[in-house]
């Protein structure tokens, strides 16, 4: 081997496949032993406290969000059929869909569907279908009862107003499940537009409902039906749909009637076709337990008290089967009495089977005498009685009755006797019944006896019995409960000493014999007795004016009188004479010192424990205790801690059976096992103490409590027979019942339309009442108008639809409820109206009219009930205006604000203010004029000021409520229920102008010119001013005082002459002046010319002079230069 070889040598290549590789792989298998977190815990430690806190908070948030307030689950064991409503605008294919759905469920083709149709959809699911038309009344009612709404949408049209309206109705009344069904997709030609359209509509639908809301597509019609597989898909979704429990429905019973029968006596109808009817309605009870004799609201009709209620066998029962998956044909039952489908019809006491095609032959109209008889309104015997016969011509006519009376008076003697006897009998009956009655009321205390003994007041004893009763009356006042015993004891006072003792024996005997039927004792047939007594009380009247009081003619009635007017107190007088020792013996075990029940006795439980953990070693003494020889160890060793409680007597008793069992257990268990068991128990205790005490422990325990209650609710009356159960619980949801009403309006029957749902909404007690309902309300943003206070509004609240007059108000910061004339446009406000008391938190919706046909959105407002009251606190502002009559320094007399001194007195101390903002206070009334008062202000007010007082007055809300009786309207006017109209509507209809107050009209403002007074500066101020600011008073030249002179004629002549002379003189002077001026001018001219010449001459001279001077200078200069 040379080194060159070595260099060429290949490195080892491990095998990646083949048996060898696999063998190796299996030898050291790779195991993910540690997670990253485990391997490197530091990397996962808390780096930043803030970050950790944040993440913890987030997880806690998520956890808390999942939790809901635990509620008692009240869903019935066998729920009623779910209501599936098909909603949509007209001509969208609702009826076709309904037909297809029914066909899919029942394999039957039904052409004429009216009203609700109930089908069996599966093992545990029944469905009632209802098609909803586009009457807003109908939509509201359907929204209240539907568990699932199928919203039909025309793909071409998109979502129409009805769908949106239905969404809003649902929102106000509690949202049921909703599924969209997109129809008429075949109207689009190419696939791309269909897809686009689908996507667009689905997005819109999800916006409206929730993300992921389901929208179905029905692609096309084949032979007037949708594609079977599409319908089948839809059906499967419907039948597995989970129904959400809604608050209103969970707390109120309701029946969606699927059948109505008019059970009025036909004779009454014949006599008066408009007479009130007796009607029975059928349907499943839904919601919660419904009680007979309670009041229900029939939506669209009114409030009625149930006269009678019975449960019937279910016409559409759910098949009871365990394993099979699909229904067979027999089980696919359909029940639609309004459409005449569904074979068997049950009634209270009969079952009717539809025989199908055979129609009854047309009855022939009777003629002649039969017809005449049928037409007469009174029965024949009545007619006979009324008819009169006069035997002799002209003699008095005698009717049948009179004749009878005369005959009776003849044979009166015999009859009277009979009557007496009859009276006696009835009296006797009454007594016995009284006895029963008093017994039921008075039986109490430890003393109890059977009814039988009291009832046995025989005819022979009646006299003595009467006496007893009389004494009883006295007894009653003193000692109520001795009554029961005194009856039997014969009121023996001597015996009463031993009464207690005697009762003890009775008691003891009774415990093993029959017991008192307490239910009968409390509820009994008390009602029947009462009516009997009432019948007995006949009034004897003297001349029809005075009433003779039958003063205790019969003891029974006296007793009764006393019973009803006894002292009203809840105090129980115990037996006076009681033997303490005996009583003490009787109640020995009610104290902790007495004996305990086996299940709760501490000692007994300890013994049980001993069986398992009995043996232990006493470390101090070194003794070993073994469970088997409890007795010995107990006797031998008293200080053993666990055994201290045991008394030796008891342990001796245990000897018989238990040791055998114990030995067995002991034999089976090794020491190790026993230790393990002990440890386990300790661990459990520890866990209980410290574990599972997380944040949600409270929540969990709460939930557990609710579950327990739900279980109890379901199980408590389960074993009772149906009749009794109904009595205690009421008719539970899921039962098919027949409800009978009396005095229903005949229009309900006559104008019955199966397409309108008949909903019987049950109410709790207080909801029958009316009151002022305070609600939070918001005008719907799609509604065109704003709502005005005092305008009637139709509100759907609870089961009811009614018209009422709301007042809108705003809760101000100082909690004042200030009236608003109109609702705000985009804000919540409050409203108050007179309406049915409905629990707080119930939603409602309002429409202005159910009659008008409009393409616009019809729902005016939605809201929620806040508070109920019997008075209204809404206020509006009131300004009282007055004017000052006289103004002093800071006080003033104000008039015209009030009309009397009394009014002023009411407002004494009230704040007033002027327009300019000066504040003041009302002080005291003046004696005159009436209503004037003195007021003080913070400063002097002007006489021209206006003074006003701001006050708040309560608004009176009219107590007006009017149920929308849409069910009673005839077919053509069904959609045109017209209630109260607004004032505006009335004016419009009658062409009346809106009345205007003259005061409120605008007029041109005419303002008189104000003259300002000159500024007067006080003298003192003026004196102190510096000179430059001092106003300079310019002395006006004093005018000579002129006196008007009236001249004498002569003087006047003279004066006139003088005047003329003066005028002439003046004129002359003027002329002279003019001439003088001219002369002067001429002279001036002359002087000027002379002057000019002179100047010329002077100028010449100067010129010459200067010339000479110049020459001289020149000469001088030249001479000088020469030098």
């Amino acid at each position: 081997m040379d080194p060159s070889d070595k260099s060429v040598q290949k490195t080892h290549r491990a095998r990646h496949s083949g048996p060898k590789a696999e063998k190796k792989k299996s030898k050291n298998k790779h195991e993910q032993d540690l997670t990253a977190r485990q391997r490197n815990p530091k990397a996962f430690a808390i780096q930043s406290v803030n970050k950790a806190a944040k993440s913890f908070r987030r997880t806690a948030d998520i956890k808390a969000k999942k939790q809901h307030i635990p509620k008692v689950d009240r869903t019935p064991v066998e729920p009623p059929p779910i209501v599936v409503a098909i909603v949509g605008p007209p001509k969208v294919g609702k009826s076709t869909l309904l037909k297809c759905l029914i066909k899919n469920f029942t394999k039957q083709k039904i052409t004429n569907i009216q009203g609700p149709v109930t089908v069996v959809a599966g093992k545990n699911r029944r469905i009632t279908f209802i098609e909803c038309n586009n009457d807003i009344n109908c939509m509201i009612d359907v929204g209240k009862i539907a568990d699932l709404a199928l919203l039909m949408v025309d793909a071409k049209q998109g979502f129409e107003m009805e769908i949106f309206e239905f969404f809003n109705i649902c929102q106000a009344t509690g949202f049921p499940r909703c599924m969209g069904v997109l129809n008429h997709l075949d109207m689009y030609k190419d696939g791309k537009t269909v897809r686009k359209r689908k996507k667009h509509l689905k997005n819109r639908f999800e916006v409206e409902l929730y993300k992921g809301a389901r929208l179905f597509y029905l692609s096309m019609l084949v032979n007037g039906e949708y594609l079977p597989n599409e319908v089948h898909n839809l059906c499967r979704f419907i039948s597995v749909m989970k129904i959400v429990p809604l608050t209103w429905r969970a707390s109120h019973p309701y029946i969606f009637a699927d059948r109505m029968e008019d059970i009025t006596n036909p004779e009454d109808i014949r006599q008066n076709p408009k007479c009130d009817r007796t009607v029975s309605l059928y349907g499943y009870v839904r919601g919660t337990h419904m009680k007979t004799k309670s009041m229900v609201h029939i939506a669209g009709c009114g409030d009625y008290i149930i006269k009678n209620m019975t449960f019937l066998p279910d016409p559409c029962p759910t098949p009871t089967m365990e394993k099979r998956r699909s229904l067979n044909v027999k089980e696919r039952v359909i029940y639609a009495p309004m459409s005449g489908v569904g074979g068997i019809v049950y009634d209270k006491d009969a079952v009717y089977i539809d025989m199908g095609t055979k129609s009854a032959p047309e009855q022939e109209k009777p003629s002649g005498m039969v017809a005449a008889l049928m037409e007469s309104l009174k029965p024949v015997d009545e007619k006979v009685r009324e008819s009169q016969i006069s035997i002799f011509k002209g003699g008095p006519a005698i009717s049948g009755e009179e004749f009878d009376r005369k005959r009776q008076s003849e044979s009166s003697d015999d009859e009277e006797e009979e009557e007496d006897e009859g009276d006696k009998d009835s009296g006797m009956e009454a007594e016995s019944s009284e006895d029963e009655d008093s017994e039921t009321e008075e039986v109490e205390g430890p003393v109890k006896k059977k009814r039988k003994t009291i009832k046995g007041s025989d005819d022979e004893q009646s006299d003595s019995d009467d006496g007893n009763n009389a004494m009883d009356v006295d007894d009653d006042d003193e000692d109520e409960d001795s009554d029961g015993t005194s009856d039997e004891d014969g009121d023996n006072d001597e015996e009463s000493m031993l009464k207690w003792k005697k009762d003890m024996f009775q008691k003891a005997a009774m415990k093993h014999s029959a017991r008192v039927n307490y239910t009968k004792m409390v509820y009994g047939d008390e009602v029947a007795n009462e009516t009997d007594e009432e019948e007995e009380e006949e009034d004897d009247q003297l001349g029809g004016l005075f009433k003779v009081l039958k003063k205790a003619s019969r003891d029974g009635s006296r007793l009764d009188k006393h019973a009803i007017n006894k002292k009203d107190c809840n105090h129980l007088e115990g037996d006076k004479e009681v033997d303490i020792d005996q009583l003490g013996e009787e109640i020995r075990d009610t104290f902790v010192t007495g004996k305990w029940d086996a299940s709760e006795d501490a000692k007994a439980r300890l013994d049980e424990d001993d069986a398992l953990y009995g043996d232990f070693e006493d470390l101090e003494t070194g003794e070993k205790h073994v469970a088997a020889d409890v007795e010995e160890s107990d006797i031998s060793d008293d200080d053993s801690s666990e055994k201290e409680a045991d008394d030796p007597e008891k342990d001796a008793d245990q000897g018989d059976e238990e040791p055998i069992e114990r030995e067995k257990t002991k034999a089976e268990m090794s020491a190790q096992e026993r230790r393990a068991a002990k440890k386990k128990k300790i661990k459990e205790l520890f866990d209980k103490e410290y574990d599972s005490k997380g944040d949600d422990q409270f929540y969990e325990s709460w939930k557990a409590e609710m579950d327990e209650q739900a279980k109890l609710n379901k199980s408590e009356f389960e074993e009772l027979p149906e009749e009794q159960r109904v009595q205690y619980e009421g008719f539970r949801p899921g039962m098919y019942v027949r409800v009978e009403f009396e005095q229903m309006p005949c229009e309900l029957v006559e104008n019955f339309d199966a397409t309108y749902p008949v909903v019987l909404g049950g109410m709790t007690n207080i909801e029958e009442k009316l009151g002022f309902v305070n609600v939070r309300v918001k005008k719907h943003r799609w509604y065109k108008k704003i709502l005005k206070s005092r305008n009637p509004l139709i509100i759907s609240l609870g089961w009811r639809r009614f018209q009422t007059i709301p007042y809108y108000y705003k809760l101000e910061d100082n909690m004042r409820q200030r009236m608003l004339k109109y609702t705000p446009e985009h804000m919540h406000c409050n409203a108050v109206f007179w309406g049915p008391i409905t629990p707080q938190g119930t939603g409602f919706l309002a429409v202005e009219s159910v009659a008008e046909k409009t393409p616009n959105f019809r729902i005016a407002a939605t809201g929620v009930v806040l508070e109920l009251d019997q008075s209204v606190e809404v206020e509006k502002k009131l300004k009282l205006v007055g004017h000052p009559k006289k103004v002093f320094k800071k006080s003033a007399f104000i008039e015209n604000m009030f009309t009397s001194a009394l009014e002023v007195a009411k407002f004494q101390g009230a704040r007033i203010q002027t327009v300019s903002g000066l504040r003041g206070q009302v002080k005291k009334a003046l004696s005159s004029p009436a209503g004037a008062f003195r007021a003080t202000f913070e400063d002097k007010i002007r006489l021209s000021d206006t003074v006003f007082l701001k006050a708040w007055v309560k608004v009176e809300v009219p107590r007006f409520i009017m149920p929308v009786t849409s069910l009673l309207l005839s077919q053509e006017s069904k959609q045109a229920w017209l209630g109260m109209r607004t004032v505006g509507q009335l004016r419009h209809e009658r062409g009346l102008p809106v009345p205007q107050k003259g005061d409120s009209l605008y007029r041109p403002i005419v303002r008189p010119q104000r003259e300002n007074k000159p500024l007067v500066i006080p003298k003192a101020l003026k004196m102190s001013l510096p000179f430059k600011d001092m106003p300079k008073e310019l002395q006006e030249p004093k005018q000579p005082k002129r006196v008007a002179v009236v001249l004498e004629p002569h003087e006047a002549k003279v004066a006139n002459f003088m005047k003329r002379v003066k005028a002439i003189y003046k004129d002359k002077r003027q002329k002279e002046h003019h001439m003088m001026r001219r002369r002067v001018q001429e002279h001036q001219k002359k002087v000027a010319s002379m002057e000019a010449v002179k100047q010329e001459k002077l100028k010449e001279a100067k010129k010459r002079l200067h010339k000479i001077l110049g020459d001289m200078k020149k000469k001088k200069d030249s001479s000088g230069s020469h030098r």
């Binding site: 008075e442 239910t519 409390v522 019973a563 303490i580």
Partner: protein
């Protein structure tokens, strides 16, 4: 709105109470028509006044003779009210009904009642506090805000006492399941006296203990001797005892001295103490989870709960509670299921089959289990914001 008709003045307050709670109007006719002083009495009128104070919109029409009354209830208002109760009946007469109404008011009730605090016919304020309050607490959930303060005591003829009752209001009450009364573990009580020698209370306590010590050692009776302005206008004394069980049920009983000028013999404290103890033993004999005083109240509040099953074990029904049950049926259409509690009667001694232990537990009279479904009553007066 439906209306109910009754005759006679008995159960007068019960009818008005139920009418107020159920909203049904009630017409009572034939009120003492044959008495020398026919028609409504002063205390009944006083009760009507009280009802008018706690409600809003109540209308009462009484005929001229006073023998007929039409009562149309309004809504419960609550809040702070003051009422001078007529002295012919003690405050307990008014307070008993007020306690039934108080949980359903618009605002928590705080009522100042003046008059006779303790008298023979009606439960005294002490008894109501000791035995009815624990029951009320079970329905309300907590006893926060539930209070009865005795400012002044006033004995029978002239009164002069004053108590302040305050109670929180609820939207809904809780259903109860209370069928195990447990065993009596302690006895408490109040011995009170006004305008008599202060030694009376101690004599009452001693004599009552003399009887009760045989059964239980944990007995403590508070003495409450009021003097001066707190003592009212008439002399009197009384003893109220209450037995508390391990499960928290309270059985109360009381005795009150005969009123001054009532024509009865003057009461000796020792006799009264002994009698009170005896009454308590009788009450224990009757047993149950609630005592006879609060039977009516607990039945009513069971009915006024949510639509859940409530279960309650009580002793023998008193005539008054029987009438309560009947009225409940009339006003609320609820029928109670009344069964004899078999377990309490037949429970065996110690579970071991020995000859002398086989006898049943000695727990007094028959025990009944009342079961009913609530009507789903909710407090419509309370406002939500």
């Amino acid at each position: 709105m439906s209306s109910l008709n009754y005759e006679g003045c008995n159960y007068f307050r019960m009818r008005l109470l139920m009418s107020t709670l159920s909203g049904k109007s009630v017409k009572i006719s034939q009120i003492r028509p044959e008495d020398d002083d026919p028609g409504l009495t002063d205390f009944e009128v006083s009760f009507i006044r009280l009802m008018d104070k706690v409600t809003n919109g109540t209308k009462t029409v009484i005929t001229e003779t006073g023998t007929q009354l039409v009562y149309r209830p309004g809504l419960l208002l609550g809040g702070s009210i003051e009422h001078d109760c007529h002295n012919s009946r003690p405050i307990g007469y008014y307070l008993e009904m007020l306690m039934c109404l108080a949980p359903f008011t618009k605002e928590p009730l705080r009522a100042v009642l003046r008059g006779v605090t303790c008298d023979k016919d009606d439960p005294s304020v002490d008894l109501l506090k000791l035995s009815v309050f624990p029951v009320l607490k079970r329905f309300l959930g907590t006893d926060e805000g539930l209070d009865l303060k005795i400012n002044r005591r006033g004995a029978a003829p002239d009164g002069g006492g004053e108590v302040v009752f305050s109670c929180p209001c609820r939207q809904k009450l809780r259903p109860i399941k209370f069928t195990q009364p447990g065993k009596i573990k302690r006895i408490r009580g109040v011995a009170w006296s006004v305008r008599v020698s202060p030694g009376f209370v101690n004599r009452l306590v001693d004599s009552a203990r003399g009887v009760l010590n045989k059964f239980l050692t944990d007995i403590y009776i508070y003495t409450d001797h009021m003097r001066g302005g707190q003592a009212g206008k008439s002399p009197g004394f009384g003893l109220t005892l209450v037995a508390e069980t391990t499960e928290g049920s309270f059985l109360g009983a009381e005795q009150v001295s005969s009123a001054k000028g009532s024509g009865e013999e003057p009461t000796v404290p020792e006799d009264l103490g002994k009698k009170a103890a005896l009454t308590l033993l009788q009450e224990i004999f009757r047993g149950g989870c609630v005592d006879s005083t609060s039977q009516g109240l607990s039945c009513l509040l069971m009915v006024l709960g949510q639509q859940d099953v409530s279960k309650l074990q009580i002793g023998e029904l008193t005539p008054y509670s029987i009438q309560f049950l009947r009225h409940i049926r009339d006003f609320f259409q609820v029928v109670f299921n009344i069964k004899v509690d078999k377990k309490a009667v037949t429970a065996a001694g110690d579970g071991d089959g020995d000859e002398e232990e086989e006898q049943e537990l000695k727990t007094g009279g028959d025990k009944l289990i009342l079961t009913c479904v609530g009507v789903g009553y909710s407090n419509v007066s309370k406002a939500i914001r």
